[in-house]
Symmetry: C2
Subunit: 421 residues, 2 copies
Amino acid sequence: MKVGILGLGYVGIPLALRFNEVGCQVLGFDIDETKISALNNGRSYIEHIPSAEIDAMCSQGFEATSDFSRASEPDALIICVPTPLNKHREPDMSFVIGTTEKIAPYVRKGQTIALESTTYPGTTNEIIRPAVEQRGFEVGKDVFLVYSPEREDPGNKHFKTQTIPKVVGGATAECLKVGISIYEKVVDQIVPVSSTETAEMVKLLENIHRAVNIGLVNEMKILADKMGINIFEVINAAATKPFGFTAYYPGPGLGGHCIPIDPFYLTWKAREFGVNTRFIELAGEVNRGMPEWVLGKVISSLNERGQAINGAKILSLGIAYKKNVDDMRESPSVEVMELLRDWGADVAYSDPHVPVFPPTRQHSFDLSSVELTDENLSSYDCIVILTSHDRFDFDKIKQHGKLIIDTRGVYSDDAAHIVRA
Amino acid sequence: MKVGILGLGYVGIPLALRFNEVGCQVLGFDIDETKISALNNGRSYIEHIPSAEIDAMCSQGFEATSDFSRASEPDALIICVPTPLNKHREPDMSFVIGTTEKIAPYVRKGQTIALESTTYPGTTNEIIRPAVEQRGFEVGKDVFLVYSPEREDPGNKHFKTQTIPKVVGGATAECLKVGISIYEKVVDQIVPVSSTETAEMVKLLENIHRAVNIGLVNEMKILADKMGINIFEVINAAATKPFGFTAYYPGPGLGGHCIPIDPFYLTWKAREFGVNTRFIELAGEVNRGMPEWVLGKVISSLNERGQAINGAKILSLGIAYKKNVDDMRESPSVEVMELLRDWGADVAYSDPHVPVFPPTRQHSFDLSSVELTDENLSSYDCIVILTSHDRFDFDKIKQHGKLIIDTRGVYSDDAAHIVRA
């Protein structure tokens, strides 16, 4: 079987590797020539994926291309493109639509098209199906259409593509059958559901669940803080209940390409049905407010020491959106850094996973990661812990930092120079 | 050690049994003479606690009394009284205050007082401590004060008093030490926390977590219903994700003595700190709205069949608040039944755990449980499944029911006479 992976990022690459591993011929598609050339030269651009794996895949016939006319070659086309939000927090479907348009002229009889991008219920049937049918193909007979949400969790050491059960929904019963036959080659457990809409909803519910639970503990954190209660201690004690409770932890805001974004895909679609997704809205509001709350803690803590934030030397620890990864997408650390800068602080950062502050669409810092020597640590008026990478030496940071704002519950004691935020 | 248990209900009785089991002398206090006489005669009034256990405890010296002057006898006084809400959804502390006032004159040096009732952070220090100090005792020296939330889960077959880890917070470090020494006699794992306020908050967070997660899936259910998606299928598929997701299921509303009530204890206290607990409010609003939503499904489903609800014969299946128990506290089934009756339906019920509709403070139905014969089942215009007891024969119900409103996701297929609600 020949498999085409459309979109060679955090989702597409692991999937390509896995299909290659089981002996499929894999053809990768992307619009980014830099990525294509890197891959074709056996180089990885994702920290947790070693170049050796890419190289091995290349030697087994993997090829990356921007030539979408080759979309007729594979037996299965798997779409793994981004589904971000636009500036008005609405679904930005341009990558899904763009990819669909690019491959549509080359779709051929017998092919299967699978969408993996997280999206609102209805996408597969409303966007991809018409493009296929316009070519004169009958879905479920000539061409098979499935939706199967990616469940990648970069940095997760316990689960990988093969061992994460895969939800699959088909546009017809035949589509589902074909979809299962493809994915069961690479995934141990397939979870068939009754429609593509159901499969689309499954992924959204997973991430809505997280966004809402994190929103809840963030709200609880703000209250506990006013009550003089350590919310991390509360959560850890609650987590000893052997049923009915799952621990979620507060932080400086939501990050990553999923949790801050996906829920609003449902919000947008729900309007069509006259429904307000109130939990999603509330979670969004609370979680988006966290960087400002952290800023407030920095301001008030410096103020207690008779210092203004304007002109203060502040070190942000960790700019990746979660611990032990180099992924900076939607990182709340960057938002906190911008707020600090807007208030006149002299901002630096340290992150062992991100040696140089990368240029992003919305943010710009001309900075490199500061080395955490004793001297450096003691030279800042304030250190803000935003991402608790395991590589940080928190004892050392505690020892040499003058004032530490801890947004991750790293420190459980009540040292005078440590402020929970 | 002699232990006094104040409040002999769903929490107090299992605790008394457990202290008795490890060889402690147990003295039970209550204000309800019926309960006292039942216990002293070796009879249980709780379905899942066999009378034989009470009887055995009595023969080992257990005694129940309404004479609170005997509060000086035990070494430890453990308060397990109800903490309901009043009509304005504010904490009704009358049982805690009443018990405190009743025992205060008899508290003696060396005693430990432990509060187990779910309540807002601050209760132990604001209500019990002053009563003890007014007697001239120094807390942490003369008398020891702890808060240790009950985590009873009636009907749970996997965990019991002994095996559910117990959170303990002390008013002072010495109080905590003494509190641990008492509870470690009966519970395998003690989870010490830094204050009584923290311990109080732990229990609230546990139940807020549940209320919010159930609220979320209830909101998702309403949306999924409009989209033609089966939310139970979605949740079950999402639950195959081996990390980051925990399944909560929608239903006809919240029930029981904890989840619909406890969160508002925090809401009330939070106002003192100028904080709105928005997730709690939203969850409350959504969950309280579910009985009305179920009613709407009954109305529209009957209407589709050309029938008005007025005069329709409707059978409620399950009136306990959760499956396989006889507990009807705050049961949403009763609310649904009242709404149906208000709309003119001829309402009956069947519940193998509740043979006769018990009189409650707010509700009155002069009904007995209907036997689920084929004939009976087919005689109702509509059957509403509200509690999915394992003892129900759902195949039979499906076979003979004319119209079935399923609020518990019992049926996964799309039979024409079954309506998901």
